[in-house]
């Protein structure tokens, strides 16, 4: 499945798109790959991360300064405390929802982790394009979210519709 996210004619990077499929089998990607939210150059990388419910995310510190990763609003709530260069902490994202990630030492560090109850999800690249691999034939309800959005977009999509167009108002 391919698609593009845009607002008017402007591509919207970091748009997260997922399909309702809570009972889908685990995909190789979500089973075996390490999911990392890196801390480097006083920034989180990537800025937006999408994971399936039950995924453990690594938070390595690859800076020469201490960081204190935390999330206090919606989604997963945690505070990893301070830890030095080369050290790593892990967090299990066990409930769907959006987690806003900050560093309590560096006020301009921020990231998002969107946890979805689906094996079919993707994040749009800088051109707004996204690809969800291995989607079985059928009709799906899709959801889309982006940083700064006040609400998700939802709709239905099937393969016969062609590429999914996510258009932000």
């Amino acid at each position: 499945m391919h698609g593009i996210a845009r607002a008017g004619n402007t591509p919207v990077r970091d748009t997260v798109v997922w399909l309702d499929a809570p009972n889908a089998p685990l995909s190789p990607r979500t089973d075996s790959a390490r999911v990392v939210l890196d801390q480097r150059n006083l920034s989180f990388s990537p800025h937006v991360l999408v994971v399936r419910v039950g995924t453990t995310v690594d938070f390595p510190n690859n800076d020469r300064v201490f960081h204190n990763v935390f999330s206090f609003r919606d989604g997963k709530r945690f505070d990893l405390g301070v830890y030095p260069v080369g050290a790593m902490r892990r967090v299990l994202f066990d409930q769907p929802g959006l987690s806003r990630i900050f560093c309590n030492i560096h006020p301009n560090m921020a990231a998002y982790v969107m946890t979805v109850n689906s094996a079919y999800f993707a994040r749009a690249d800088e051109t707004g394009a996204f690809t969800i691999a291995g989607v079985p034939a059928g009709t799906y309800t899709y959801h889309a979210w982006r940083p700064g959005a006040t609400a998700e977009l939802t709709g239905t999509w099937s393969a016969s519709d062609g590429p999914l167009q996510v258009v932000w108002p």
Binding site: R64, V65, G81, P84, G86, A87, I105, P107
Partner: protein
């Protein structure tokens, strides 16, 4: 204030043009503050940092800060947490560094102009943590160590994440009102962590301050620092002893609590107790400096943060016994 506006404007409109694999982040912060010590203050910092080719990173920071002290009959060190208030634009740090991760090891090389790697020294540990004054042991007027000490030289880190040794060699490049004589600097630091504990020990041999009454002697400083963190509570502190003025000895410590439980949302509560002793450790209580601080830092959103400190101090008649410091910082980042 014109400079602060100019720097914020510049940071907002920087559009880095970079090749693939490179990245630059521009950041600006502007702070305004008032203290019941009759001090008003303004400060601004601009930072540029990121990756260049070959895994090399760079970091550069320029700062301006100014204070006005209305009452000529007393002193104040308010708003002196991590930057000098000398009413001049100054380059604080400018360095390049490269990190290697051989197997489970860690090797880091840094060269340029950087903060003296002694104890808990990073600007981010002191500038944004909720305290608006530097610890007494790191205040340049009193101590052999200051948050305004800088090195021109090279720094090497070798070890594994759990235990590493850092060594820096260079020459003093201080930015505060009190500066060291020129000469060779050597700093050695060992740091390790186990679970929630992070411990470090540092030693520095450096030329003495230019205000020293006895010249020619070397300044020796030794310190131990400790951090412990669990469930949103961080306890940290430093103990430092050294000789800033010839053979006189200065010893001091501080202990901080920074509380940020998940239920506290954008609020971080802070508390500090500290002491600084000149000369004989057995002297009477009225002969050493002591201070207790409680406060909070609140993220207001939109890049704004509020910091409030209330403190009580004794041991120096030039300083008022009680003070309330308030500061608002606005910061913006462009990537």
């Amino acid at each position: 204030m014109k400079f602060a506006v100019l720097m914020a404007y510049a940071a907002c409109f920087i559009e880095p043009r970079l090749a693939h694999g490179q990245s630059v982040t521009a950041e600006a912060a502007v702070t305004g503050g008032y203290s019941t010590d009759d001090v008003t203050a303004a400060a601004a910092q601009v930072r540029l940092f990121g990756d260049v080719t070959g895994g090399i990173r760079f970091f550069g920071e320029a700062a301006w800060a100014g204070r006005s002290l209305s009452d000529p009959h007393h002193e104040s060190d308010s708003f002196n947490a991590a930057y000098p208030y000398t009413n001049r634009v100054q380059i604080i740090e400018a360095y390049g560094e490269r990190m290697f991760r051989p197997h489970e090891g860690l090797v880091g090389i840094r060269a340029g102009r950087f903060r003296t790697p002694f104890g808990i020294y990073n600007a981010s540990d002191h500038a944004y943590s909720g305290f608006l004054r530097a610890p007494l042991v790191r205040y340049e007027e009193y101590s052999p160590l200051s948050n305004n000490l800088l090195e021109h030289g090279a720094d090497l880190v070798v070890g594994v994440p759990r235990l590493m040794v850092e060594a820096a060699v260079g020459a003093p490049g201080d930015v505060g009102e009190v500066r060291r004589h020129s000469g060779l600097d050597v700093i050695v630091r060992v740091q390790g962590y186990y679970g929630s504990f992070i411990a470090g020990a540092s030693h520095m041999r450096t030329p003495p301050s230019k205000t020293a009454f006895v010249t020619g002697a070397r300044n020796h400083v030794t310190g131990v620092d400790l951090r412990w963190t669990h469930a949103g509570v961080q306890l940290r502190g430093e103990w430092i002893t050294g000789q800033p003025f010839g053979r006189s000895t200065t010893t001091g410590w501080y202990a901080d609590a920074l509380i940020h439980r998940t239920g506290m949302g954008p609020v971080t509560a802070v508390a500090r107790v500290e002491r600084l002793v000149f000369g004989d450790l057995r002297q009477a209580p009225e002969d050493y400096l002591s201070r207790q601080t409680v406060g909070a830092r609140v993220r207001l959103g939109g890049g704004l943060a509020l910091q409030v400190n209330a403190l009580h101090q004794s041991g120096d008649k030039e300083y008022l016994p009680r003070a309330l410091d308030v500061a608002v910082t606005w910061s913006v980042r462009k990537q």
